[in-house]
């Protein structure tokens, strides 16, 4: 086993497990991309390909009983938090993931957190949203409610560089963290490609939420290497500038994590390979069970637009 990230055994996650989860998400999002392109997923798919360190880091810090409110791009967070790839792929096939509006789930997270506090429970809400959603006025309303009602919520802004198809610096979602700070929330801005950085910052904020009652805010800077949205029958494959893609591919969170483990001699290469292969196989199996094809990238467009509940047609 790899070294523990923290000393407290009850909430520690091993580096190897962290790596395994990231590999699982990578395979999951790649499968989803292939399935979407081959026309077998209904609706639009908002992928978090390349955002694995952020997804695992945010969710690994949660305690049992905590509530996760992911955005429509947050299916990966649910898989990271334990949703099976089968269930995840089924859900993907229904379209309309999670929430219909980018920020509509934020006040729901506040209400659930308020209920927990009033019931004397220690559970909190993690509300994940994009930097595009951060432009929505309901974020500001939700921040205020959470402060005023002392609701234990971690607002997690996943800034993946684009709001829709517009580069984030030309938009205003990146200002949300200042609004949060202005309202008195403890805030952190972290490198979302660095899994342990995300985990440690998240864990510190969650501790603070639990001890001082009230919300906190984290922004993770990351990048989605898939198009903003993928759907069957449309040419949503907007091309990102290749220098930009190259820049972020060089900061690939999986590869980065892997080289650190190897460099620090915390894991052997074969171990990591085995973990990654097992994760990929798990997702491939799930895709076969749910969508009935060994290779989800095989182009069987529109022959199976909906997932089966009873398994594949083998």
């Amino acid at each position: 086993m790899g070294a523990l990230l923290l000393n407290t055994p009850e909430d520690a996650i091993s580096l190897l497990e962290f790596y395994r989860r990231m590999a699982l998400l990578r395979a999951f999002e790649e499968a989803r991309l292939a399935l979407a392109r081959s026309g077998r997923l209904a609706g639009e798919q908002f992928l978090a390909l390349g955002q694995e360190a952020t997804a695992v880091g945010l969710t690994a810090a949660l305690a049992p009983g905590d509530r996760l409110f992911p955005s429509r791009r947050g299916l990966a967070l649910r898989v990271a938090a334990g949703l099976s790839p089968d269930e995840g792929l089924r859900e993907a096939g229904r379209g309309g993931l999670g929430h219909s509006t980018p920020a509509g789930h934020l006040p729901i997270a506040v209400g659930a957190a308020l209920a927990a506090r009033l019931a004397g429970e220690s559970r909190l809400s993690l509300a994940e949203f994009g930097d595009g959603a951060a432009e929505d006025g309901i974020l500001l309303e939700s921040l205020q409610l959470a402060v005023r009602w002392e609701s234990p919520v971690l607002f997690a802004c996943v800034n993946n560089g684009y709001a829709g198809t517009t580069p984030s610096p030309t938009r205003s979602g990146e200002a949300a963290i200042h609004a949060a700070r202005g309202l008195g929330l403890p805030v952190a801005r972290v490198d979302g490609q660095d899994g342990t950085a995300v985990l440690e910052a998240t864990r510190a904020l969650l501790d603070e939420i639990r001890s001082r009652r009230g919300p906190a805010f984290i922004e993770c800077a990351t990048y989605c290497v898939a198009p903003h949205v993928v759907a069957a029958g449309t040419s949503h494959s907007e091309e990102r500038p290749s220098p930009e893609l190259d820049f972020w591919r060089n900061r690939d969170p999986l590869r980065r994590f892997r080289s650190r483990l190897l460099q620090d001699e915390l894991a052997r290469e074969e171990t990591l390979d085995v973990l990654a292969e097992a994760a990929a196989a798990e997702v491939a199996e799930a895709a076969r069970r749910v969508y009935g094809a060994a290779d989800p990238s095989a182009s069987v467009a529109l022959t199976r637009a909906r997932p089966t509940d009873s398994g594949g047609d083998a």
């Binding site: 506040v110 209400g111 659930a112 309901i138």
Partner: protein, 294 residues
């Protein structure tokens, strides 16, 4: 004899709710006029407050949420509809204060927020809110500000049973209405009576789901019906369609919809708009002259 007005009846029902159900959280967006006060959790934005109420419900905590003004309440509830679809079943009471200038009763009928109550009298304002508070489940309570000063005129045994009731018996035509439109329907029935037309007035009280049994029973007597719909909302056509399907063999004429122009906070002006429209259309339905001036 000091009879309570509609606003007082709501206030009493809310006080009673707090005493009977101390665990019921009171949330409020916007201003609820003189009716209550006393909400524990208040903020301005309807969307966030409604969302928080859903979050509470998801976590198993029931709340009574007052939303206003009505245009913001409607937008908030529409925005929440997809989330609500996934969260079902939820237990909550959404109270919206209509004021005549924003969206009317019928626009709240098809939101899927819960069973929709639209009380028209003080006794009902109290009894129906009491019913919603006393029962698990999702409720949308449409309170009518224009009726706040109204006192109970014709005492009717208040019943908490959510369903339609017959407010006035008649044999020629059924007028179907809820909220402020009930007052207009009762006035129109008086005018029609002067012309020899005996109108029956049904108070919907529950606008979703519809109490088709009570409505059909009225058609067995009158064989003709008009739905009074303030604004151009889905309520009129959906009542007409459902009732046509339920009691087609009883009908001597297509069920009509009286569209009353919305947009005034004055009950007097509302009645000035609604009563002649109802009278004219009822006369037309029965093939009688409709020169209202007489």
């Amino acid at each position: 004899m000091n009879r309570p007005d509609y606003a007082g009846a709501v206030r009493r029902a809310l006080q009673d709710a707090v005493e009977r159900r101390p665990e019921l959280l009171l949330l409020q967006a916007g201003d609820d006029g003189a009716a209550t006060g006393g909400a524990t959790f208040r903020a301005e934005g309807c969307a966030a407050v409604a969302g928080a109420a859903l979050g509470l419900a998801v976590a198993g905590r029931q709340s009574l949420v007052t939303l206003g003004p009505p245009v913001a309440a409607l937008a908030a509830l529409q925005r929440l509809a997809p989330e609500l679809e996934k969260a079902r079943p939820v237990s909550w009471i959404i109270r919206v204060l209509l004021d005549g200038t924003g969206p009317a009763v019928g626009q709240f009928a098809g939101l899927g927020v819960g069973r929709v109550l639209a009380p028209a009298t003080p006794a009902d304002a109290e009894a129906l809110l009491g019913r919603a508070v006393g029962e698990e489940g999702a409720w949308l309570y449409l309170e009518e500000r224009r009726l706040h000063p109204c006192q109970e005129k014709a005492p009717h045994p208040a019943t908490g049973r959510p369903g339609a009731i017959c407010r006035l018996a008649g044999s020629d035509v059924t007028l179907i209405a809820a909220g402020a439109m009930l007052v207009a329907a009762l006035r129109a029935a008086r005018v029609l009576s002067g012309r020899g037309i005996e109108a029956e007035v049904i108070d919907l009280r529950l606008i979703a789901p519809l109490d088709l049994e009570t409505l059909s029973r009225s058609l067995y007597r009158t064989h003709r019906a008009l739905v009074i719909d303030e604004g151009d909302t889905p309520l009129g056509p959906s009542v007409a369609a459902a009732l046509t399907e339920a009691a087609f063999d009883e009908l001597d004429a297509p069920i009509g919809v009286v569209r009353v122009a919305p947009g005034t906070a004055s009950l007097a002006e509302t009645l000035e708009r609604a009563v002649p429209a109802i009278v004219t259309q009822a006369c037309w339905l029965l093939g009688r002259p409709s020169n209202v001036a007489g």
